[in-house]
């Protein structure tokens, strides 16, 4: 008996090393770059068909996969780039870097031979929208200004606020519920010119992703979406660039190597409305409006294990007016606002399975109104400032132990300083001087871990948890946020997906208009104004049709939000006409908290690569809000509730000289509140028990009692490309709202007088009927 056991043990011990040897695993890792420019490429798929295993490069182009030793055929693929097929013999840990050649149209001929291998059905992530940055340049745009956020508005589940606005309303969420990140820095106000243009310069961007749900645990801080943008690193091959001239602005981007270890990118844009108007103004009066933005990035490669990135963004809008009189009196006034961000990132490779990034981040947004009036040796000076400033430290690691697990973990700490309103008023004539500043300091901390793994062959899971902490009024709140996304492969190229995410938001935007006005105030959570939270579940199908480069998805979702914020009835951010009394403003007294529900279904058929690209997106949705203090506590449709939303976008490149594009947008009417009658607005007079007349307020029985007219328009553009000795020039002609649809910007009631009679009418304000645009671009 003992002998038998001994024999079996001996045999076992003999075979264990052999078994171990046969299961010996090796790690293949490296970076994937664009050939030529050496730009690091995120999201590249590295796939091993024989074992149905693979991975993708992270945000910094790094990949790592650990496999049993052996010989493998592998594919390295990325949309818009030529496919690499390679056989590797994995008998030891290996580092292989790949350079992918761009496979877009070249001027020498049409070369569309890349395989579209990024398959929606193979990704565990759902509710993720990706648009190749090149497509942003091809899609028709308002006044020829290419706009990342407005292109995202054309996707299902994402709606615009009002006509021309770059605000995003994702799955019923508010404009403030989007986490907009540029190189790890939060951008608070993403709008130029009162929301008509976004602050992001597409020429400087490398990648743009929009998460509508199923949020990975590495993201947090907003309820409804994450828009993650990465700036280009700068070409390491040679100095190159682009310059463009449009109706509104001009821009220039230059990138290139500094030496073999470092490169840079600089990009700037400025409007010239003020310069065009200057000759038309009187000699003693100057004024105008402009916006500009500036992006810069520098990276330095310390070697195989360390890399440094320094990037920044600065943008500003300014309205200004100056008048000077002969007697020495003068009047200066201005309104200015803008963002600034700065990020220093250090990539460190601990080993071929463990990648780390540490970021130091600075971000601010400020809005300022100033006025100085000198008359008769008296000075009236008024200055109003609203500001939010962040400093953050962020640490993230990617750990890839084997093909079945991709673990991401990290922590970040943000120090917020909010100054919703700082106010200075000085009047030498009345000896009046006031100086007030509301300051809020808050810490927002978070730690997360997530693991993408395959419990069974057909099931992929990304499960994670994010722990969040926020300091408020000397106290603190702690909230865990569980997240999970799953994809089950039903058959080849078809997957069933589901996700659940809990989100918390500790900063709020007080907005009346929702159109991205700079007067919107960012404020922190307080004991009175509690953090917003939401839970979202989503279920969907993802289908790929590789033969047609087509991805199709259908998703349904249900989102419940708590403590969503809204102004009280009749409240506004701060009556600008009454700034002198503004020092009594306390935002906490102006808001109410309630709950929101949104649910719907989305359809997307997208073709990212080929001679014809574009997408068809359709959304059916409902968004409802409920506040105890609004609408008599009854639920009502949110202003931006839209039952149907359809976008059809097509880009056609018949040859290397022409790009044709068109976009059709349809959205059913939004919910407005209109009076149905007017009543005598009497208030009680104590003296004689009667009432005295105050005004004739309009009355309505419920909010959202009027569905606005449907919104639709058709835009087209044509680009003419031509190769010149020193580069490629492109002329673009565009037509926005081709058939001149008078879409509503807002509605208002008005009294119409005629022959001694009066009649109340509803009026629609339209701002963009048919608009033509022309622009010129030169790439060198």
């Amino acid at each position: 008996m003992i002998n038998t056991a001994y024999r079996q043990l001996t045999i076992a011990l003999f075979f264990i090393p052999i078994l171990s040897y046969s299961q010996e695993e090796y790690t293949l890792s490296g970076y994937v770059r664009e050939a030529g420019s050496q730009e690091l490429l995120p999201g590249v798929t590295i796939y091993f068909p024989a074992i149905e295993a693979g991975t993708t490069t992270n945000l910094y182009g790094f990949y790592s996969i650990t496999l049993p030793g052996g010989s493998y055929d592998m594919r390295v693929s990325f949309v818009g780039y030529e496919l690499i097929n390679q056989t590797i013999d994995l008998s030891t840990d290996k580092t292989i870097h790949f350079n992918l050649n761009q496979a877009n149209l070249t001027l020498e001929g049409v070369t569309i031979n890349a395989e579209r291998d990024e398959r929606l059905s193979e990704e565990v992530q759902m509710s993720l929208l990706k648009i190749p940055v090149e497509q942003f340049q091809d899609i028709p745009s308002l006044m020829g200004e290419k706009d990342v956020l407005k292109t995202l508005q054309l996707m299902p589940g994402v709606q615009s606020g009002t006509e021309g606005s770059s605000g995003l309303y994702v799955r019923g969420g508010g404009a403030d519920q989007n986490l907009i990140i540029l190189d790890d820095a939060i951008v608070y106000n993403a709008s130029h010119l009162f929301g008509f243009f976004s602050v992001f310069n597409g020429d400087a961007l490398k990648s743009v992703e929009l998460y509508k749900g199923g949020f990975p645990a590495r993201f947090g801080g907003r309820l409804s979406s994450v828009i993650n943008m990465t700036m280009k690193d700068g070409s390491k091959e040679h100095v190159q660039g682009k310059a463009g001239i449009g109706l509104i602005s001009s821009n220039v981007t230059v990138e290139g190597p500094i030496n073999e270890k470092s490169s840079f990118l600089i990009s700037g844009r400025r409007t010239y409305i003020d310069l065009l108007l200057a000759p038309l103004l009187p000699a003693d009066s100057k004024g105008g409006y402009f916006f500009h933005d500036f992006n810069a990035k520098y990276n330095y490669d310390f070697g195989p294990k360390n890399r440094l990135f320094v990037s920044g963004y600065f943008g500003r809008d300014k309205f200004w007016s100056r008048e000077k009189y002969e007697d020495g009196d003068r009047f200066n006034a201005g309104i200015g606002w803008g963002n600034g961000t700065g990020t220093i990132r250090w990539n460190h490779l601990f080993n071929n399975k463990l990648f780390a990034n540490t970021s130091f981040i600075y971000s601010n947004f400020s809005f300022k109104i100033d006025q100085e009036d000198r008359f008769n040796d008296n000075t009236f000076r008024m200055e109003y400032l609203s500001k939010v400033e962040d400093m953050a430290l962020k640490f993230d690691v990617d750990y890839l132990p084997n093909p079945n697990h991709t673990i991401k973990a990290g922590a970040n700490a943000i120090y917020h300083q909010f100054s919703p309103r700082a106010f200075v008023l000085e009047d030498t004539q009345t000896s009046d001087f006031r100086d007030s500043n509301d300051l809020f300091d808050n810490w927002e901390l978070a730690a997360y871990v997530e693991d993408e793994f395959k419990p069974i062959r057909k099931l992929s899971v990304n499960a994670g948890i994010r722990l969040t902490f926020f300091s408020l009024d000397g106290d603190a709140v702690f909230k865990p946020e569980p997240r999970i996304s799953m994809a089950y492969t039903l058959k080849d190229n078809l997957a069933l997906k589901g996700s659940y995410a809990r989100m918390n938001q500790y900063v709020h935007l007080l907005t009346n208009s929702g159109i991205g006005l700079p007067t919107d105030l960012w404020v922190p959570s307080t004991k009175q104004v509690k953090p917003e939270s939401s839970q979202q579940i989503a279920l969907g199908l993802a289908k790929d049709v590789p033969s047609r480069n087509l991805s199709i998805s259908i998703e349904t979702y249900y989102k419940k939000s708590d403590n969503v914020i809204n102004y009280k009835e009749g409240a506004t951010f701060l009556d600008l006409d009454d700034l002198e009394n503004g020092d009594e403003f306390d935002f906490q007294d102006k808001v109410v908290l309630g709950e929101g529900r949104s649910y719907g279904a989305e359809f997307l058929a997208q073709r990212k690569f080929g001679r014809v690209t574009g997408w068809i997106g359709y959304t059916l949705s409902w968004t409802k809000l409920k506040f105890d203090e609004l609408n008599l506590g009854q639920e009502f449709f949110a202003k931006y509730d839209r039952r149907h939303d359809l976008s059809i976008v097509g880009i056609y490149k018949p040859n290397n000289r022409i790009t044709l594009s068109a976009a059709f947008v349809f959205g059913s009417g939004q919910a407005f509140t209109l009076p149905v009658a007017r009543i005598p607005g009497y208030i009680h007079s104590i003296y004689d028990s009667r009432s005295f007349f105050f005004n004739d307020p309009g009355v309505y029985r419920e909010r959202g009692n009027f569905r606005g007219e449907s919104y639709h328009r058709f835009d087209i553009s044509i680009q003419f490309h031509k190769k010149k000795p020193k580069g490629i020039r492109t002329w673009e002609l565009g037509v926005y709202n081709l058939y001149g649809r008078k879409n509503p910007f807002f509605y208002y009631t008005d009294s119409q007088y005629n022959d001694g009679t009066v009649r109340e009418v509803l009026r629609r304000q339209t701002i963009f009927p048919l608009l033509l645009s022309i622009s010129y671009k030169f790439e060198f």
Binding site: I248, T430, N512, S513, I515, N566, Y567, K568, E569, G570, A571, T572, N631, L632, T673, L674, P675, A677, R678, I679, P680, G681, Y682, I683, H684, I686, Y687, S689, R690, S691, F694, D696, P697, G698, V699, Y700, R701, R703, F706, E709, K742, F746, Y747, T749, G756, T757, V758, E760, V761, L762, R763, R764, Q765, T766, I767, F768, P769, L770, L772, I774
Partner: protein
């Protein structure tokens, strides 16, 4: 090149907002049938007075310029009921009001009343309110001038003990009689100032506590006027919830701002609009030399 420049200029002009359009919307407008509007505030020792109106559809009515967008209702049966039976409130046409004098009908603290209206047109509306049981009594009242830029403002302040364990609603108001020397004419003028502020208060977060509240009355007389005599009749009202909510909604109402949050005028009238509210009043009179 010239043609290109001309085209560019045309495009530029077309993009500079010249096409901003403003159009009347003629379809799908919200409409509803006429409703009655009741305005009535009742209190012990005061007449029961009811003002009655009928709304007109807002967007489909053409009226004479200068006429209000609603009409008085003179031919309706208006009754009040405290549970013991209905009493008809007669109409006084010259004042366009339905009225019962205190000697004809008593309003009692703590009692509930039902106001019913049936117009000849067939429109009906009802409203209920309960008079507060107990009036807040001021333990202190102050009245002082504050200096504004060009005129003197008046600050009225009451101090009282909140009645505990119930939600209380309050309003402060005043009537002021001022005798002053007009520096321009040299003659003595008498001006009666009524306090127009409509701030209302609750005891939210201060139930049973000592409450200090005040209102600022914007001055309507110049700093240059020399005041000779000042008489003040200050009122502290304890109101019901409807009174409070109605005035608060009127106070918050925003006109002509397309971006402001829509505001709603509170009503407790079933089948109509308006207010049937109640209050108790405590007043303090004082004279400043």
């Amino acid at each position: 090149m010239k043609a290109l420049l001309s085209l560019a200029l045309l495009l530029l002009l077309s993009s500079c907002g010249l096409y901003t359009l403003d159009n009347e919307v003629k379809k799908d407008l919200v409409d509803e049938e006429s409703r009655l509007v009741i305005i009535s505030f009742i209190s012990p020792d005061s007449s029961v007075e009811v003002q009655l109106f009928q709304t007109l559809p807002l967007f489909n009515t053409t009226r004479a310029s200068g006429e209000p967008p609603y009409v008085h209702v003179a031919t309706a049966e208006v009754t009040i009921d405290d549970g013991s039976g209905q009493t008809v409130i007669p109409y006084f046409g010259d004042e366009q009001i339905y009225r019962l004098r205190p000697d004809e009908y008593s309003i009692n603290p703590g009692a509930s009343y039902l106001l019913s209206v049936t117009a000849n047109s067939g429109l009906q509306a009802t409203a209920k309110c309960t008079v507060p049981s107990e009036a807040a009594i001021a333990t202190n009242a102050t009245y002082r001038f504050t200096s504004g830029e060009f005129s003197r403002d008046i600050e009225l302040r009451f101090e009282w003990q909140d009645i505990s364990d119930v939600i209380n609603y309050y309003r402060i108001s005043s009537q002021t009689e001022i005798i002053f020397q007009n520096p321009f004419g040299g003659s003595q003028d008498t001006t009666r100032l009524r306090q127009f502020a409509i701030e209302v208060f609750t005891d939210f977060d201060r139930d049973g506590e000592r409450v200090v509240e005040g209102v600022d009355i914007p001055g309507i007389f110049s700093n240059q006027f020399e005041i000779e005599q000042l008489k003040v009749n200050a009122f502290l009202l304890t109101t019901d919830e409807h009174y409070y909510k109605y005035h608060q909604s009127i106070q918050n109402f925003v006109f002509d701002d397309p971006f402001a949050e829509p505001t709603r005028v509170y009503t407790n009238v079933e089948g109509g609009y308006g207010i049937f509210g109640s209050y108790l009043v405590h007043n303090r009179e004082f004279e400043l030399e």
